[in-house]
Each structure stands twice: as C-alpha cells, then as structure tokens.
Symmetry: D2
C-alpha cells in the first residue's frame, strides 16, 4: 500500500488524558505508588479516576458520639497524603464524588470487599456541605486555579443497583442536582458531569439525564459513560472467563450516546468522557494479562477518540480490592502493571500511542489509519511514528510504500508479542507461583519489555516497509533520516565482517 503523505486521517488521540485506579485509599500503599511511578515514567497520564473518595478508608467525614451527643467533623489527613503523592507523580485527579460515608448513608447497603456504602445521603444538606468543604479544602491546599481544572463526576454507575440503591434514577438526579450546585458554588469554573453509566440501559439513562437537566436548567459540562467489550462471564474458582466481543458493536453503542446528546439543541457537541473502559469488566479475568488484550486495546485506542473526548483505561495497576485481595501474581487484574511492577503487554500499547500523541501535540498529523495500523508524521515531516496490531492468531503481513526525501533512513521497531514480551507465559512456565521469590520476580521484570530491532533503509524517493506481525502482536516503529556522523576511521563494515 502506498501512503499519500498529503492526506490527513481523522485520529483524535487522547490516550494520556486519564487512567483508572483502585479505591483511593489504596493510593496510600507503597506498592500502588511504585506501580504508578512505572506508569507515569513511561506513559505519563494527566488525570486519575477511581472510587472511594468519601469511604471510611479515607476518613474524610466522621461522626462522633460522646456522652450521648453526636457531632461530626472532617478529616483530610489521608486525602492530602493521596493528593500530595499524585502531584508528586505528575498526575491530578478526575474527581468521582462517591460513595457515601457510612455515617452519612441513609442505609447500610455496601458494595465490594471494601464495603463502599451505596445509599443516598440521610441528609442532602450534609452531603452538599461535605462536597463543598472537600473541594474548598483542595482549593486551599493545592491552589484554586489548579484545582478548578480537575473534572468532577457525580457518583459511579447509578444504573446498577449494586452501585446505587435500587438503581433509583430519580434519586440519582436529585443527587446530581444537589452536587452540581454545590460544586459550582465553590467555583463556577469547575467542570461537572454525569451520569457515569455503564452499558445497561445506557441510552435511556443518558436521555433521561439530559431531560432532567433541561427541565431543571442545569448545564452539565460533560457527559460520562463506561465502555467494556466482553460477553457474559463464566466463573471458575477465583476467576472469570469471557469472550471478547466484536469491537464494532461497542463502537456502535458509543455512537448512541453521541447521537442522543446531539439531539438536544442545548447539549449538542457536549464532550463525552469514557470514564472507564477495558476489555473485561471483571477484576479477575486473565485476559487482562495477555498479549491478546494488548492487541485488542490498540484497536480500541485507534477508535475511542472518534466520538469521545477521552477514555480512561480501568486501571493503571493491579493494587485493587473490589473482589477481595488478589491471591496471586497474575490474577487477571485490570492493571497495566502487575504486582512487583511487572509491565503487562497492554502497558506498551499505551506507551506506543503516547509516542504518537507526542507528535500530535506538536502539530503532527495522522497520515494513515486503518483497522490494523495508524501512522503519524511530525510537524516538520522528518519523523514518522506508527503502530500496527494483530488481533488474530495468525501472522499479519503488511507492506507500505512511503514517499520520503532522504536517501537513508533509520528504521526502529519495538515488538510486543507472545514470543518477545510475555511475562504471563514466563510466570506460567515457572509454575504460577502466587508470590514469586525475589529471583523469580527479577526474571519476570527482565522479560516484560519490547524487543527492539533496527536497520538502515535505502530509499529512492520511496521507502518500502514490510511488516510481519505475529498473532496478538503490537508493533511500534519510527522512521527518520539517518545522518551518518562516523568518527575518524570508524568503519562498521570492518567491525562486523558481514555478520
């Protein structure tokens, strides 16, 4: 295939905007911070979003009974500790306001191993005060001009009865209104959105939500939803297994949100943030640890910006407790990184898309995109960066002819496939140790990086690229002019004697 470098392809790449996380209290742990460091050093997300801001483990809202009287107070010790660590790591929150402090809940229903209370507040006034006090505290500590750029989302997946008592839509709308107004009172510059639904009656919820906003004259700043792409789970012991679904079904579903929103005159074009996405939505599905996941997600990343402002992979790391404390090294967790900071194949998919985004952030253009590949050119046209992925088991052959100006080009390839970069298989071959020894962990970490290959391409107007991507492989490549600057007397051909 011949690339026409004058043509521009639509490719809204916002891969680094946001990433998901286990409950906020886990951010206090060392393993969490270690995993986050690995992610930030290579990928560098701007925002982080997860549950549990107001849960007991964070201790923000407390009621005290003393000699028959009940008083309450706020406690920001852990919140500050978490936010300090985020900022030190170069990441800032995408604030999800939830769940309910136990002491403020109207009921006792909880979700997850860590028991997040999912009932409406016993007092909406106290809830509004909690929201305002918390945001004001953050503005005081981290600077108002910075904090107003932290997007605010109201609750999580209220369309599921597990996450919001009875999935009571009208109660959620009430919560949204009260919260929206509370946030805007702190500072009208805050961007606030909802309804954070997952793919269950999502279109109905979004339309109802916008009807409610229209009726109440609320102007949400964005709409949020989730996006998972697997079929029904099959459980076995601690694990679930699911088939990956046809990605285009998912893209169609995403389009329904766009269409719904754009059908409202006053909400037309409102940004949609996918505040969670992944293949499987269960935290113990081994698919997350595989090369197959990496290739499937590459395809996702090439599409998710089509009608959405951003999309937040659920989650950056494997420190996660929704289904209990992980039992083993690779437990099918959502993370890009596994315990001990072992990078999974999907980690590299994000790293590679970030490399493309870097060029795009500096006015680079997408010069080619199809269902297996995307190529971006730097603004000065001196460098090309591309990614190929192979969602199937069979080797993918892909040839390009690209017009270039230079006679010699440096061609670098980073290969992530089941042969080159497969820590899951290595761990399996080691006998699947629940807690690898230091030596085993060291070995896993040596086996988690791409294979890098290089060559010098001769070009005469055009350069030919012939790719062969193994099943479930992802490949990142760069092409740039090769300017030889040899030292006096250095002769590579003498060095390697034709090998």
């Amino acid at each position: 295939m011949r690339i026409d470098r004058k043509k521009t392809y639509a490719f809204h790449n916002n891969v680094d905007f946001c990433v998901g996380t286990g409950r906020m209290g886990l951010a206090l742990t060392k393993e969490y911070q270690d995993e986050l460091r690995v992610v930030q050093e290579e990928i560098g997300f701007k925002h982080i979003r997860g549950h549990g801001l107001f849960c007991e483990a964070m201790g923000i809202y407390e009621e005290i009974n003393w000699r028959g009287e009940t008083s309450f107070c706020y406690n920001f010790t852990y919140l500050d500790r978490v936010m300090d660590s985020y900022i030190e790591q170069g990441i800032e929150p995408f604030l999800e306001l939830g769940f309910m402090p136990g002491a403020l809940g109207s009921g006792t229903q909880t979700i997850f191993y860590w028991k997040g209370n999912v009932t409406p507040p016993k007092s909406y006034k106290k809830w509004a005060d909690l929201v305002k006090t918390t945001l004001t505290h953050l503005c005081d500590r981290y600077g108002r001009d910075r904090v107003v750029n932290w997007p605010v989302e109201v609750w999580n997946e209220p369309n599921l009865p597990g996450f919001w008592k009875d999935a009571d839509m009208q109660e959620y709308f009430k919560l949204f209104k009260v919260t929206f107004q509370a946030v805007k009172k702190v500072d009208p510059r805050f961007q606030v959105g909802g309804p954070a639904v997952c793919g269950v009656k999502d279109e109905f919820w979004i339309r109802s939500f916008l009807d409610f906003c229209r009726q109440e004259k609320l102007s949400p700043d964005f709409v949020t939803r989730h996006h998972y792409t697997t079929e029904e789970p099959d459980r076995k012991g601690h694990f679930t297994y699911q088939k990956l679904s046809d990605p285009f079904l998912g893209f169609d579903n995403l389009m329904t949100s766009r269409v719904a929103i754009d059908s409202y005159k006053e909400f037309k074009g409102l940004p949609i943030h996918i505040t969670e996405f992944n293949t499987s939505y269960t935290p113990t599905n081994p698919i997350h640890d595989t090369n197959e996941n990496a290739a499937y997600i590459a395809h996702q990343l090439s599409h998710l910006g089509d009608v959405n402002e951003s999309y937040s992979y659920w989650t950056f790391g494997d420190v996660f407790e929704e289904a209990g404390i992980p039992h083993t090294q690779f437990y099918g967790g959502f993370g890009l990184v596994a315990a001990g900071c072992v990078r999974k194949p999907t980690f590299w998919t994000f790293a590679f898309f970030k490399r493309l985004q870097e060029l795009q952030d500096l006015s680079g253009r997408c010069i080619y995109k199809d269902e297996e590949c995307v190529i971006v050119e730097s603004a000065d046209k001196k460098e090309l960066r591309g990614i190929l992925w192979n969602r199937g088991k069979k080797t993918l052959k892909k040839d390009f002819t690209i017009p270039v100006k230079d006679k010699k080009l440096t061609f670098i390839r980073h290969t992530v496939d089941p042969v080159t970069t497969n820590p899951l298989k290595l761990w399996h071959d080691l006998g699947e140790p629940a807690a690898p020894s230091k030596a085993q962990l060291d070995l896993l970490k040596r086996a988690d990086a791409p294979l890098i290959s290089s060559s010098i391409l001769d070009a005469s107007g055009d350069v030919e690229l012939n790719f062969s991507v193994r099943g479930f492989g992802v490949e990142y490549f760069t092409i740039s002019a090769c300017n030889m600057t040899p030292d006096e007397g250095y002769d590579y051909s003498k060095v390697v004697k034709g090998s």
Copy 2:
C-alpha cells in the same frame, strides 16, 4: 548427545575473581562509578586491578619546594575516596604498585595520554617508604585483616620498553626485590607477585624472574602475566582493527608459563593470575563492542581456569584514557559497559558464567563441557545451568538428552546474539552519534539485554533439549523442576486459547 550426570568435567570457573579498570584516578568520576555499579549489580567481581596508583592524578607522593628547600609528604585524600567507593560497591583492589610518582622518577619518560612515569625510582629507599606508608595507611583505614587479603603485584609489563624504561630486566628484578620486602615488612600475610608480563618474550622473563627469586631466596606468592588473543593491528584514524587469533595458540602459550613454573621445585604449583586478558590489546578496537567478542570470550572463560588461578578481563568499563579521551559512544573500548551504562554483549558472557559459578561455589559440579558449551548441576541436582556459544557466523545446532527425575521442567533461555542484543548495531543504525541524545541513549539501554524465553518441558526419564544458536550468539539456560501451584480456578489454557 546424551549427558551422563555421574561424570564430572574439570572446569575451574573463577570468573568473578578480578576485573580490570582504567587508571585509578578515573575512579573519582561519576561515570566510572555508575558503570561499575551496573557491573557489580549483575556480575559482582571481588577484585579490581588497574594502573596509576602512584601517578600524579592520585597525588599520593608530593615534593614541595619552598624557599629553596625540598620536602615531601604523602596525601591519601584521593586514595581514600577511591577505596571508599570500591568498598561501597562491594569490590576490593588487586593492588598493582606503579607507576612512578613524577617527583620520584629517575627520568621523565611517560606512557599514555595521562603521562604515567615509567622510570625506576631515583631512590629505592623513598620508593620502599612510599610502598610501606601507603599499605600501612590502608591497613589503618580499612582494617589490617581485610587489607592483607588484597593481592599485590609489582609494576606492569616491564617486558615492554614503553612500560618500563628500556625493558631493563635487572632493574625490574631490583624493583621487585625491594618492593617485595617492603610489603612483607608491613605484614607478612600480604600475597605478593610479579612479573606482570605480556606476551613478548614472556617465557624468558618468567624463567629469569624465577631464577632471580631462587637466587635471592625470595618466595613470591604467585606469578602474574597477561593474555591477549589478536593479531597485529591495522590502524585507521582513531581506530585499530585486528584479526582474532586461534584461541588454542593462546592456551598453548599460557601452558608455557605453567610448565616453566612447575619446573622449579620450590615454585611448583604456584598460582598464576592472568592480571589482564581480552581479545584485542588496543583500547580502540571495535571488536570489543561486538557479539563476536562475547562468543569468543565465552570460549576463553571455559578454558582460562585450566592452568591459571584467575583471569582479569581488561576492563569493566569504557572510562579509559590511555589512548586519549574517547571520541564517541562506541569507540572500541575494553569495557563490558559503554558510556551511559550501555551493557555490551560481552557483559552478559560474564553474567552467565557468574550464574554457573554461583552453583559451583555451593558445591555444584560441571557435568558437561566441550568447545561450545558448559553445563553445571547444583549440589542438590535440582537445577542445571548451562551456557552455549557460537564463535562462527553460521547457526550452531546442538542437541542434548539429559536424564531427569521430574516429569515437568521449567526451561528458561537467555539469548544474546546479533538479533536480540546488539546495541552497537542500533547505534550504527542511528547514524553513529558521538554523543547520543537522552532519547537515543535511552533507546540503546532498552536494547542491551538478553531475550528471555521459557517453556515447560515434558520428560519421561530423559528430557530433550534442542538448541539453535545464531552466529556469534551466546545462550544461557536453566532447567529446574516445574511445580505447578495454580490458584483456584486458574486455567492457563483458557487464558491463551491455544495461541
């Protein structure tokens, strides 16, 4: 080939005993310490040997002229700083006493860009005082019981006129005697040796040296010599190119030293330390940076212990100034590690032999060795570790049948060859930048490690191993029992669906 696990092969593996270094003053630099850290973390040498202890850059001996009078003093500021850093890095010196402090020299002849004075002392008494004061200082600071374990070698390559004025043999013997007696006076436990010759009239020098010792009733604790295995250099600009010589010629030459020593009743069996070895002896021969070097050195390491106590690779890193300050990233330096801590292929040869030595240090046995391979078994027979190397350009096929007790075995391979681990080629393909940018250096460091592959082998009494080692490849493998400890419900076959 069928391995007979009851058989034991002679394989004196002392790979970690000592490594070479550029002049001691360079140990003050940060780049030197960074490179040494990389080497120590992976390989962990016990001793380090190099030139320049008494040269001006270390400033140990100083003469001061003040108002017409000359006095002298000792200054151990830099010596202490270097020794502190060595000990912090877990390495201790193999002391080479030389060269001459400029102020103490009988002449002005120097060697190298850094101008080491190579003339006999103007006063043997002052020289002896210098030696005694220095060793006493080291004993005081680092503990006598520790320091007496640092071997002491008298001078370097006095058989070359560049290193010792006129290659004056009798003068060297005088130096040896004075030095030997000075060291023993500080503590008779010190092990002292010479004559540190390279391969020029080496047999004649060694016999003459022993004749002299016999005559003077000196009992050296060991004999030292060097070992390089390339033919005459062809120079081009800053670089030299040499053909690798037939390794067996070198081994024969080493044997001549052994035979010579053993022909003296009183010196029979005296240890021989090869205090320098490498392929080429020129510090700007690109061979050092290649995969070919890695394979050739693997073969060397399988042999050098045959008649020698130890063998010290010249050198651990590329911070080196004998032929001037390096001009470019890969300049054909001796180092296992290049500038910016990029590990060369030969680095891994040492790392792999160290893995074997670890088993041998714990009473493991060599169960097989030939000219392309060595295999060691752990004392409990539960683990095998082996190395294969291919000194030729064509792929080497090698099959083993090994009797085992377990039904399932974990088989791990670490491959270092021109395709998997070739930072030199990557640098070449980048255009041979003299000073890589941060991004280029980062890329080189990502491309300097072995490819790791794993599998589970089924065995029935015997296990079959089929190796295919690329030209100039080195391969390290381990085999151990695979005890599956899967978590409840974990099913790898479901995870990877036959991929």
Copy 3:
C-alpha cells in the same frame, strides 16, 4: 561525684530488641515504611510487634460462598508484602497471633476504628489450621531456620473485655493451649508465650495462667505483659490528657510479675517480655510528642531491663488507626516519629540508649548508673558513652570526676531539650496546621535533631565533667582520647583568633 571505673553497675540494656506498630495492614502504606526507615536507620530494632495479623485488611483467611456452598482459602499476598518490607528494612516480626478473622469468629464484637474481631473462634480446629498454615507458609518463604527465631505471642490483653470477649479467662487458656500446640507442631523450636496482659488484675491473670500451664503440662517459653505509666485520662475533643505516674509504682508492679513467675519451680527465671510500654496508653495523648516524654522514657529505659528480658515501645511511628485516622500533624500518637518523618524527642532517647547498647554488645560495661544518668565504657576502656535525663522542669546540675589515661579528650554532647529539639513547639508556633505545607514540613524536619557541641578536655589523671541539663532535657555524651593529627602548617588557634 567521682566515678570508680573498676565498679560495674547492673544495667540490662536491650533497647533495640523490639518495637510496637500499628495494625499490620498499615505496613502496606508508604508513609509507614518511610517512618520505619527513619527509625531503622538511626535505631535499628530487631523485632516489631503489633495487632491485626489475621484481620480482614490482611485477608489471610477468607470464606467464599458460591452457589450455596461455603469454602475457604488462605491468601498470603499482603502478608508476604509486609514481611518482605520488614526484612528489607532489617526488622523481623514478634508475632502476635490475633485477632480473629471475621469469618472465623464466633461473634461479631470488634475493637477499634478498624474493627478487629475479638471473639473466640467458631472452630478451634480451623483456628489451629490457620495458625499452622500461616507459620508453615512463613517458614517456606523466609527459611525455617530464620522464622523459628520469631517469638510468638498468643493474643493481646485478654484481661480486657474490649480485647477478648467478656475477658473470659478460661476461654483464653483454651485458646492458648490450642495455639501453643499448633505452633510447636509446625516446629518445636518456636518460642511461644502469653498471656499478654495489661495492668488490670495482671498478677491474678499471670498466676492463673501459670497454674493452667502447670496443670496442662504446657511449657511456655516466656511470659508477656504490658506497662503504661499514666493515671486516668481526661478527655477533651479528640484528645486525652493524663498525669504521668510515679515511675517507681510501675517498677513495683513489674516486680510482682517476676515474683509470681519465680514462685513456680518449673517456671522460675522464665523470661518476661514487656510487649508494650509507653507513658500513656491512649493514642491521642499529646504527652507522646513532648520533651517531657523523652526524659521520662530515658528513666524507664534505665530500669526496664531490671527484671524483664525486653520491653517494646508502643509504637515506632504515628501511622495508627485505633482511635480513627489521625486528624493533625501532632496528634499525640504513640510514635517515635510523626507524620512526614519528623522525629520526636523520644526518638533520640532510643537512639542514645542504642549507642550505649552497641558498646555493651561488644562487652562494654556499665560503670555508673543512678536515677538521672547511666555511663558505659567500651571493652578497651578507650571510650565512654553516657546519657543524662532531667524529668523535672528545673535545670539539673551534675558533675563527674572520671579517672582517665589520656591527657587530651574529645568530649561530644548531643542535647535534646525544649530549646534545642522541639518540633512540637515549632508546629504550635506555626499555628498548629493540621496538614503542614511542604515548606512547613521541611522546617519541622530541620528542627528535630539534637544540638551537637564539642570540646577538648585537658586531663591530669582525672577529667572533670560539668553538666547542666535543661528541664525535660536528655543529653548523650561521649568521651574518647583526642589524638591530634594536624596537617602541615595547620594552626587552629590562628584560624579562629581566640573567638
């Protein structure tokens, strides 16, 4: 006062044997590990003891209901992570077996903000299995020979109904017996003890415990108890205030345990470990943050070894959640170190006693001790190390005459008192910020170390020391021979010109 250096004073200094900690799950947090690092670098405790090993936050024991059936499993992910971190920090557990996993409890009674279940097991067999499986796992991962040296204590303060349902003594004895036998079954070398009582009917409990052991023919390896030295608390908001009690009342109480044990022929001389001690037993008593506490504890440390094998300060750091999540920087927590790794005055008391213990570990002797001071001499008599403390508000004057051999002595003093080392006051003067800014925290950390003073003492057979210790001050001093080794021409008197 004239010191007689031939006299030896009884001073069993075991200050570094063990230290307390908040619940084990907190060891996963970064702040905890950071605080522990500061403690270990300066003091270096050998063991660490705290609650919560078997609580939900550690997730070791789990019951799963799936389609109507209940199964259970063990999960050591977090336990391994905590133990790995301890070992990395050079500390090993003093294992307290407790509290009850929720799923294994016979009831729902809990203690603390973090809800530790304090009911007897619903099945003693399952409890014994849990104990055995956990210890066996630790032996497998960390090496049996190492792990059997970790002392084992059964439960915590069963003599309080808050810690053990109804403070049911017979039920505790049953628990002890089952646990003791389970542990010994894993390895008879394990040292196991109880009953871990606090000072409520402690003598009665200890005698009853030993009666029970005699009757059941159990041979506990040691007896454990706690030791706090404040009067009844006065609560105000989040805080409690208590008067320090007369220390000798406490020492008398400790003696009752010794006497009780020694009254049993078969238990006579059994070691007593004080597995918790501090001034106040409430986690929000500001006394812990003061200089007064430092001086009081110094006195304690000079006595606690009198009849006890060891004594474990409760706790090393301020990461602690028993009374809820701390609300502010200095909240009266038990820690030697406050949030952000600010060292409290009492930190230095331990650091100073450790300096004495270092000499004692190398056969140094206590040459003087009274109620305000202790002095230890090194085995070679070349160095003296001493500590003075002032439990009162008024300045303490203390003069010594010490016979010495050297003419000149280096005298170094480290002063910790309300003027030199008082981060609490600085924080107060800053306005008591709940979450100090980075700049404020930096300032606090600059103000948390001793003032160091030095001088050269002239001696003529005797040396005179005149101390003046401020109210609530602690002072550590060393005296050693001053051997001047000036550089050529260096003249300090010219440098400072009499200043």
Copy 4:
C-alpha cells in the same frame, strides 16, 4: 529602632546569579557532583563559572601525529558529560573561554598543579575556530535559544603574568577582539565581556580595555572583574593566613570600575559582573571554613549589588586542585561545602540571602538595611524576612519595632554561629582527622545546620524584636501572621504544663 514600612531601601540582591567552581574537568567527579547537589538543593544558583574549559583534562582540542603528518580534531565527550550534569542539576555555565589547549599554545608556560597553558595561541585562526566550533556544538546539543543566554567571558585575570604570559595587555586585547568576533559570528545574541581582571592595576586595565574597544568599535556586553578582601598572605606549611581587610576599601575599589566605565559615553551603565569574589584569594586559607567568614560575607552580599550586576562566590565546593590535591577534610578551600558534603557556615549566608531574593523576585521590597542587617517584605506585606550578621567577636544587640496588622505573629529564627553551627571546631576537637571515618563524617554532617527557634509574638500595632547575635553569628528570621487552627480539644498549654 522603629522600621518605617513605607520606606524602601536600595538592595540589589542577585545572590543566586552565579557561583564559581574548580576547573571544569573536576565536574566529572562524583564528589563534585555530590557537593553541587547539596548547594543547588538549598541555594540554587543559575550560573557556574570556572577555568579549564579548553585544557587537556577536557580534551576538546587534540592534535595527532601519524606517520609524519599532523592533523587535529575536536572531542566533546567530556564537555557534553559536564554540561549534561550541570543541566541535570539546574545550573548553566557562565562560559570562561580559556586556558589554551597545550597543542594550540605558542609556549609551554602553565599555571596550577593541573598545568593550564597560559600562552597566546600559536594561531589565532585556529583559536577562533575552536571557539566557534565549541559554541556551535553547544548550540546544537542544548538548543540555540538556551545557549545564547550563557554569558561569555574572555580569559581570566590577564593582568597577572601567571595567568597570561607576561600579562601582555596588547596581546590580551588581540585575543579579546578575535574571540569577541568569533562568538558573535556564531550568534550575535551571545553576551560577551572581559577583561576579567583581579585587583592589580585593575582601573588601568579596565580603562585601557575600554579605550581599545572604543578604538576597535567593539561593543562588549559587560565588563568583568574580581573582588577579594584580604591582606597579604603569611604561609605556613600547606596553609596561608591573611587578615581580612576593611570591607569599605573593597567597595571603594569596586566603585572605581563603575566610575571608569561610566566615563565612556558609549559604555555608560554597562553591567559589571564580579566573576569571582571571596574573602581570601588563596585556596588553602582556613578563614573560608569559619563562622567569621560567614558573617563577613553576609555584609559583602548586602553591598555587592550596589554598583554591580552580579557577583560570583569563588567557589561552590571544595573539589579544587589549583594548589594541589587537598590534604585534609578542612583545608581552607574556597567552597561553601567541604568534602563529604559538610556545609560550612558561609553556605548558610548564601541560603539566607536566597530566601530574601525569593521575596524580591516576586516584587518584595527591602524595608530596612544597615551595615548589620537587611529586611525584606513580601509583596502582599504578610511576611518579613531578615538577616543579621555580626562581624565582630562581641555579642551584637539589635532591637526593632515594626508596625504590623496582626495580633499574633509567628517568629522563626535560624541561627548560625560558633556555638550552634561550627563543623570546623567539631573537626578540630575530633583531632583534625585528614580523612574522617564514616562515623566522624556522619557526626560532622549532623553539626552543620542552623539552630531553629520559634515563638509567637503578641503585637498591638507594633511588634518588638530583640536580637542578640553571638560574635561571628549570622541570623535569618521570618515573621508572619500566626493563624491558629487547632484540632478539636487540642490545648498546647495542657500539653507542656508551663515548661
């Protein structure tokens, strides 16, 4: 004294603009980088200036003789390594072009232990090429827009025959012209200046230099000179001793340069950079290590901006070889920091002036200055920062009445005086060990920081400050509103019980 907060005092504080360094080659060493890190973390200089850019240790210019022919080449390996390290440490060069590469010199005269060639070039064309190639290389590697902001100075102290052969003024002017034009050819935005004279015939040199520039129609961008304030040295062994001179003599001398420059219409107001200053100009004068130096330099820093753009303390650290390799821990080196990163008292003088400059950089104003004190107010008037110094031996009393708005103020003092912060004395009392042991070095580092004291001041319109500064003391203080934010129930008065 009553401060009038409406009044503004002239105080051009540019303390962080530049600092001096030992020869550039020393920047390769680890100790140098460690010391620089300590300086940058606390003070954070913008520029660094020293000698030796073109000397052999940097190896930039090289001539090679090969088979009778001489060729030359440039080598930027070490230059890049040094510049990379500077930029990593947040500091950028103030480029001093000199001395002469040995191979390019017209003679062999050298200066210093490290033998810098101080002769004019044998070819001015080759010199100009060297300058252009070096600057162009820096522009390529570090970005032209950044590098043109690195000031360029031509040579060092040509008015001394030791630094420039025969102190030949006309030859220097030739060098200046050639160099000036070469630099401007690379980029006219470069700021270039000279003549870098020390205080020997300085006024004559500066006037002659400007005459020359006028005549040749050269427009230098700034004038440079040095400034030392001690009398003639008295040498003793390795050391020199000098009396501090009256500072006002020095300020008068500085004024002569200002007057001279301003007398030229075309050069009027040209910035003057003091590219070196210190008390003594000898690198082995123990005054540099004293508290007296800290106090004297504080006074200097309050004045040096009066008629000069900047002033660069000579030098940041004690890695320095002009008079040979340092023999001992405190050797009277120029550094703010001694070996092992021990901070000298003068270090804090700079740190304190930097704290004032921070306010001034944000539009703070100097509200008071005299010969013992300077006070700066923040732009929002909420904070005051001041420094007092005492150049004499007797205690200095100083009282201020300052009008304030707040009722309660936090008053923090950082004291550096012979009692609180005197590592030199501690080292002396330890016996002046040339190479302190790890324990001794640790002790020195614990004794090198200010004593911090705090209090809350009550004010009623005015606040009273009563200072008492010990002889040779420097004191930094801050005053800001104290807003009490106590936690519920926290009562400091109960905590400390009046202590």
